[in-house]
């Protein structure tokens, strides 16, 4: 199976197998007005199996979301058919308006224009907690 290379756009590579669709939804790519291809279970030298997302066209991406879903992913920015930049993701310290607090008693559910804010509380377990009520985020 082949997917054409892109001239201008972004390739999110080295996504752990199974993470591609989660990332697709969290990045809101279903609403993108440029072509997007997801390849799943692709052979990988480094990971064994991996997912890849190719975005054909310029689109602003939230790198915190990519780092949250898979801090080992890499983002390749392509311009005029050549690699312009390779970014290594990291687990973000904060996530703004990415997750929703599941606690029905949390102030973020009722306070006007209060962002949904989560902070990384345990790097080793990738645990995030709501900044407002400290409820743990559900595991991805």
């Amino acid at each position: 199976m082949t997917v054409d290379s892109i001239q201008n756009g972004t390739v999110i590579d080295h996504i752990a197998a199974g993470g591609g669709m989660k990332l697709y939804h969290l990045l809101g790519l279903e609403k993108a007005d440029v072509p997007v291809a997801i390849m799943m279970n692709v052979n990988s030298h480094r990971l064994g199996r991996k997912d890849i997302i190719k975005i054909d066209g310029e689109l602003a991406l939230d790198f915190d979301v990519i780092g949250y879903v898979d801090p080992d992913a890499t983002v390749n920015v392509i311009r005029n058919g050549t690699l312009l930049e390779k970014k290594q993701m990291v687990l973000p310290e904060r996530l703004k308006n990415v997750l929703r607090c599941k606690n029905p008693r949390c102030i973020s559910g009722s306070e006007q224009e209060l962002p949904q804010l989560f902070v990384l509380t345990d790097q080793s377990t990738k645990e995030y907690r709501c900044y407002w009520c400290e409820t743990r985020a559900a595991k991805l």
Partner: protein, 307 residues
């Protein structure tokens, strides 16, 4: 602007200094009777409370200050849909310090971010109630002379009880403490509290379901109420509410210098007959809470440059 949302906002030296101030107020109340003259505390209580609101108000009056108050969301602009942020921005124009209770968890943090005067969290839903923990700490220090070498039993609702989690996180900062966690299976201390407090500090603890088998080992027995408002399901509440009831009979096996504590209000988990036992310290806790609130108001007003 310094506000107090939860106990970890205060360092161990700050906790000790607050207790020192509270004990000084107890010894020399006259020296503090005018220190907050012409200063105003706003008590914003958007959830029912008797002791906490009165405690804050009594504390401010004993410091010579004044109190302005909103009691209940029905009586305020919150009933018209005003946000917490707008409410505290407005009240900051009238008061030098705010004590706020709100049913929404995290409301105190929103208030602290938006107020231009210090905010003290007087309870935000099931999240945090730091001044209750301050009352608990002073009670333990006054009854036991310190925090070293104590075996602390916590009994009842250890899952939803915010006072338990908050006290555990405070006591875990002291060395040489042991904990006995007594609860039904459904109301055990959440694993994240154990890992953040007990395991991280390598403090020994045991978890049991039977109070009588361990009561003789305890220096402190912290009883809690199974709170109806923390349950979504009435059936679960009814099934678990009478899990532990402390009676004079159960206390026969306890140490002569046991300190029995309870954040109050109680429903029936401590028999009224226990009230006359010299080991009952829960009404002393109420009094200590007022002194610690005085100490905290003083500290925050001084740090804000208001005093």
């Amino acid at each position: 602007m310094r506000s107090i949302i939860d106990i970890p906002d205060l360092s161990l030296p700050e906790l000790d200094a607050l207790m020192d101030t509270a004990e000084d107020i107890i010894r020399r109340p006259g020296d503090y009777a005018e220190v907050c003259r012409h200063k105003k505390l706003a008590t914003l209580f958007f959830e029912p409370s008797t002791r906490t609101r009165l405690s804050f108000e009594a504390a401010m009056y004993e410091l010579g200050g004044n109190v302005i108050s909103v009691a209940g969301a029905d009586a305020s602009s919150v009933a018209k849909g005003e946000s917490v942020a707008d409410t505290v921005k407005t009240v900051s124009c009238y008061a030098d310090i705010i004590a706020m209770r709100h049913p929404k968890e995290g409301a105190a943090r929103v208030a602290a971010m938006n107020a231009t005067v210090p905010v003290i969290n007087a309870g935000d839903g099931g999240h945090a109630h730091p001044t209750q923990t301050l009352a608990d700490l002073l009670t333990i220090r006054r009854e036991k002379g310190g925090f070293s070498g104590l075996t602390v039993g916590m009994c009842g609702d250890l899952k939803f009880g915010r006072t338990v989690h908050s006290l555990l996180s405070a006591l875990c900062r002291y060395e040489n403490m042991r904990f006995v966690l007594i609860s039904p299976e459904e109301l055990k201390v959440p694993s994240y509290v154990k890992s953040e407090c007990l395991k991280r500090n390598s403090l020994p603890y045991t978890q049991v379901t039977d109070l009588e088998s361990v009561i003789g080992d305890l220096d402190i027995l912290y009883m809690t109420r199974v709170q109806r408002e923390r349950f979504f399901n009435e059936e679960d509440y009814v099934r678990l509410k009478d899990s532990y009831i402390l009676t004079p009979d159960k206390l026969r096996k306890a140490k002569a210098d046991l300190c029995i504590m309870h954040p109050l209000p109680r429903v029936n988990e401590i028999s009224v007959a226990v009230d006359t036992d010299p080991r009952a310290c829960y009404f002393k806790q109420v009094l200590n809470g007022k002194f610690m609130r005085e100490a905290l108001i003083l500290k925050l007003l001084k740090e804000a440059g208001t005093l």
